[in-house]
């Protein structure tokens, strides 16, 4: 297998360095579970599954927070997917390199803007329109995940061979058909982009906390909503004992949600792969 001893040594070095990202993720999982274990030990499943999150009264129901997390992420995705995909299609099919560079850079800047700044923008411009609500949270969240989606879906679309699109165009069909062919050929990458955007949405905290209203009741569109991560960010500051532990448990739950979405997304990708 290996040609020489030095080569084996090099591969060992790569193995050690390459293990680091996985070790980091594993370590953070251990960290969350060890901090969250106290809540698991002291609180009954009934309490944790309850409908009210009121730590001062000993109520640690995670249900509204889980629903809030899912609702805000799903709504954000329904906004981000059409905008992101349409932009990526337009840039791939109809834009020159200059325009593409300009739009891509602008989108990438959004990706690098601190969450707190986007949250402040949302508080100034979005909240006056829809209140501190699930709708505001979804809009701000959409703004935060659209860049990831646009850039990754765009990259996937640009890997589709230009010759193929030329051949389709040569048949004299309309732009929409060409776009359809492009989407079908880039479907793996697009699914990957959507999955990644979804996982980012589940984990975003700072910006959402500034506009969501953060009341831990069952969510409605124009009512306030609290998510697992916004609750963590608002309360961990001075939380002690089992309250603190329950917050970590919530974060572990976010990680589990992300893991589930990721595995599901890859499964869809595999199914899409086999025609």
């Amino acid at each position: 297998m290996f040609r020489s001893a030095p080569e084996r040594g090099r591969w060992w070095a790569v193995g050690v360095a390459g293990a680091a990202p996985f070790v980091a993720v594993g370590a953070i999982a251990v960290f969350l579970l060890s901090h969250g274990s106290r809540a698991l030990g002291e609180l009954s499943i009934g309490t944790l599954a309850g409908r009210s999150w009121l730590p001062l009264d000993g109520l640690f129901g995670l249900a509204p927070l889980i629903l809030g997390t899912l609702a805000s992420t799903l709504l954000a995705l329904t906004l981000a997917i059409p905008v992101g995909l349409a932009t990526a299609l337009f840039l791939t099919l109809h834009a020159g390199p200059r325009l593409r560079t300009a739009v891509d850079s602008a989108v990438a800047v959004l990706n690098g803007t601190p969450s707190v700044v986007i949250g402040l923008w949302g508080l100034t411009w979005i909240v006056p329109l829809v209140g501190n609500s699930l709708a505001a949270a979804a809009l701000v969240l959409a703004l935060m995940i659209t860049p990831t989606l646009t850039l990754l879906a765009g990259a996937a679309m640009r890997q589709v061979p230009a010759e193929l699109l030329e051949a389709v165009r040569a048949l004299g069909v309309g732009n929409d058909v060409v776009a359809g062919v492009l989407m079908r050929h880039a479907r793996l990458g697009i699914l990957g982009a959507v999955t990644l955007a979804a996982t980012r949405g589940l984990g975003e905290a700072v910006a959402v906390a500034m506009v969501a209203g953060n009341v831990g009741t069952l969510p409605s569109l124009f009512g306030p909503v609290a998510t697992l991560t916004t609750t963590l960010i608002l309360e961990f500051d001075s939380a002690v004992g089992v309250h603190r532990s329950a917050l970590y448990l919530g974060a572990a739950l976010v990680a589990a949600l992300i893991g589930t979405v990721s595995v599901w997304g890859r499964q869809l990708q595999r199914r899409a792969e086999s025609p």
Partner: protein, 282 residues
């Protein structure tokens, strides 16, 4: 078909990655040299403005280096117990178990003020009206002498001392609260109320006085006829306030002692009063 790549350019970019890391490793070893005495403080962000200004003053006056970090009261407590700081900053009362593990030094008091938007004509509420508003028994400003508009009730997230002070004064339980918006830090509550004409909230008095001074459209309400001011907190005529502490695990070191003495002395008193907090001695 296959295009082989120029390896020199690739090596150059690999070097570009490795060089800063190598430099960092060197810099790291260089810093092993003896460090001057310094005092590390971490904890509640509420105390950050006071502590940072005190640190700068002490540095200028005596050369003592004080490093102030935030992270929240609980982080401050954990750091103190683990010996990762010299002093912890706490913006909340300590739990009984916590009290048994550390020494605490009250530094200042901070009032909790009830605020509305500047355009709101209501200037005063009684504790009972406040209680009814936060229970949503009163839902329109007209019922407490204001305009005919719905009241947007803003509260603080669980775990924050401001919320506990508010609950203690009004005698409400947290499960009784019916609110529209929950915020984390004081700055967030301030932003929400300043952005919402019909909102009511309660926040750190020092912070809100500061931002009103800078033109933020907020107004502090009199509570049971008492104007919320640092002076009214000092003479206890204004009822809602919370203590701010520094804590230490062992007998404070010489450096920590100097920080505490400074904060409790004239220099500290000036900084605390300029920050619109209330010194403990008053």
């Amino acid at each position: 078909m296959i295009r082989f790549v120029d390896t020199h350019r690739f090596r150059a970019s690999l070097a570009a990655v490795l060089l800063p890391l190598a430099l960092a490793a060197v810099a790291c070893r260089g810093s092993e040299a003896a460090r001057p005495q310094e005092v590390r403080i971490s904890g509640a962000s509420t105390l950050y403005p006071i502590l940072q200004l005190a640190a700068e003053q002490l540095r200028a006056d005596t050369g003592l280096r004080v490093r102030v970090q935030a992270g929240g009261s609980t982080r401050g407590f954990e750091d103190t117990v683990a010996g990762r700081n010299d002093l912890g900053a706490m913006a909340r009362e300590l739990t009984p178990e916590e009290t048994s593990e550390v020494r605490k030094y009250p530094i200042a008091y901070d009032g909790v003020g009830v605020v509305v938007h500047r355009s709101n004509p209501v200037g005063e509420l009684s504790t009972d009206q406040l209680r009814r508003i936060y229970r949503k028994e009163v839902t329109r400003w007209r019922e407490v002498g204001g305009e005919d508009a719905p009241i947007v009730v803003v509260s603080k997230a669980h775990g924050h001392a401001t919320l506990e002070t508010f609950l203690e004064h009004t005698g409400l339980r947290s499960s009784e609260l019916e609110v529209d918006v929950v915020g984390g830090d004081n700055a967030q509550i301030i932003r929400v109320v300043a952005n919402t004409e019909d909102a009511i909230g309660y926040v750190s008095l020092a912070e809100v006085l500061h931002v009103i001074d800078r033109g933020t459209p907020l107004e502090l309400l009199r509570l049971d006829g008492v104007e919320p001011t640092p002076a009214a907190v000092a003479d206890r005529s204004y009822p809602m306030f919370r203590p701010l502490y520094l804590i230490s695990k062992v007998e404070p070191s010489a450096g920590s002692r100097r920080v505490l003495d400074f904060l409790l002395g004239d220099g500290g008193r000036r900084i605390i009063e300029q920050g619109l907090y209330v010194p403990v001695g008053s």
